[in-house]
Amino acid sequence: MRKVAVVGIGTVPWQMRNAEKTFRALGLQVAKRALEDAKISKKDIDNVVYSIYCESMIRQQIPSTLMQDYLGFQGLPSLRVEAGAAGEGYALGAAYAQIISGMSDITLYVALQKGGDFYDFETRSRGDGFQNGMFISMDTTWLQPVMPSVPGFLSTFCLVPHMEKYGSPTPQQLAKAAVKNYNNAYTNPEAQLHQKVKVDDILNSRIISWPTTTRMSCLYSDGACAMILASEDKAREITDKPVWISGTATSTYMTSRAEPGNIGRMMGTYLAAQRAYKMAGIKKPIDELDLIQVHDLITGTEIMAYEELGLCELGEGGRLVDEGVVERDGKVPANVDGGRIACGHVGGVSGAYGACEIVRQLKEQAGDRQIRVRNGRGVMQCIDGHAASNSVTVFERDR
């Protein structure tokens, strides 16, 4: 069977708002960097896949055709995939399948999203404009009229029932995971926040929806990144350091279809991980992975992801935080880039940035934040705001 490798990445610093560039130019910027990283020409690309999450955020429907024109890929195939904030993983799976099938040899993958142009003229606030503008992302019939926010939804459907069942994670553990991500972001020059914080700063920040505070919740940013994906023979021609996609899977499991058996879980992440691990031949993730990039929309979902990804038993995720297993120098560091809490987040992009971080780390090109690579394997997981769309991808370098 054919194989697929990442042979180039292109990233830009996360910003609360990037007014210097339209979404089109932002996409070109990361595409250019990925081509430079791969040291190939634009003419080598035979296919383009876009992860663009939300149209109202950029005031433009069907943006992928406009992107295709701006990037100058007249005549090439293009595909846009969206699945909320898990869309980057779903799009990556689609790009993988197109290369595996032989439809493409070298695909440019572009993840991009701006949201910072939203504005509320009454309150003169971008944040308010953003909240208003993105509201139809959630179920408009059954959730929007009664649901406070995405952190509130995830706290109620996932985190609180989990805490009640297992007594973990505790608010202290939730705060410690946030501190870890802030510390990691401190050494990432592309991170949006460079702040030193303590556990008390996290716990004492404003409660959004108990036990989740503002500093346990993700940022919102303008962001973009790109990857060059290639079939095995092409990858060998392009680089001597390919990073293979050895497993990729998704699972759409509607958390809001709440029934006794599924509250307090992220079942979709569990199912996607099982499928991806089977493809990659992973049996004991805690011993076989060097790092994970997981979806810290709130720190509760980060810690629950450790469990659903099989790093530990259900209810043991908080312990991994206490024991330092997920710290940068721990056995399986989590979100070494700073995660969505301190590095940056926008739907459709942050998971792709996490994938780029894994590629950097496995190639040992992460500078000050380089982790120790033992197994040569990392996992990227992302979810949408309902924890319904879930994606898990395994990356590995040559042994």
């Binding site: 005031r59 003229f121 909240q131 926010s149 939804f153 109620t156 009640e164 404003r206 959004i208």
Partner: protein, 160 residues
């Protein structure tokens, strides 16, 4: 001073206001119309029951996702039990129930009596103190005066 390429690029980005770009809808509730009409006209809740597997879906659906059968509408009391909840201090935007109940309110998964699935909704606590509403608290639906046919037309309160 002559305009050079460099000075052109140095200017800050030009920002354009879009104040009226707001889609409006006359939105059909379709197969869910019986449910929302009952709320609007009679302050009552209906649940949807699959005639084949007998499962009672709440929130309701027009069709059973397991059997693909059209559901039947059955009355339910609007009383239930909290299975998970979170005290909410952030108001968000456009949340209908927060147009008439204050924060902190409690966002909860509620197991309505007679249903097989849980519905999420807002509970108005009696006190501002965390701990009044917990897993196991019995609650009932209260309908507001101005109803238009959304689940924001009602909220829950603890049963004293």
């Amino acid at each position: 001073m002559a305009t050079t390429n460099e000075t052109l690029k140095k200017e800050p980005p030009l920002e354009l206001e879009y104040r009226d770009w707001k889609p409006q809808y006359l939105y059909s509730l379709g197969e869910l119309s019986p449910f929302f009409r009952e709320i609007k006209n009679n302050r009552k809740l209906l649940a949807s029951k699959c005639p084949q597997c007998k499962k009672v879906w709440m929130p309701p659906r027009g069709d059973c996702p397991d059997c693909y059968e059209e559901v039947e509408w059955i009355p339910i009391s609007g009383e239930g039990t909290v299975v998970a909840c979170s005290y909410v201090y952030f108001k968000g935007h456009g949340v209908e129930v927060l147009g008439y109940i204050d924060v902190p309110y409690v966002y909860a998964l509620i197991h309505l009596d007679g249903a097989d699935t849980y519905m999420s909704h807002g509970i108005k606590p009696k006190s501002q103190k965390m701990g009044e509403i917990v897993t196991g608290t019995r609650v009932k639906a209260i309908f507001r005066e101005n109803r238009r046919g959304t689940i924001g037309d009602f909220y829950f309160v603890p049963i004293a």
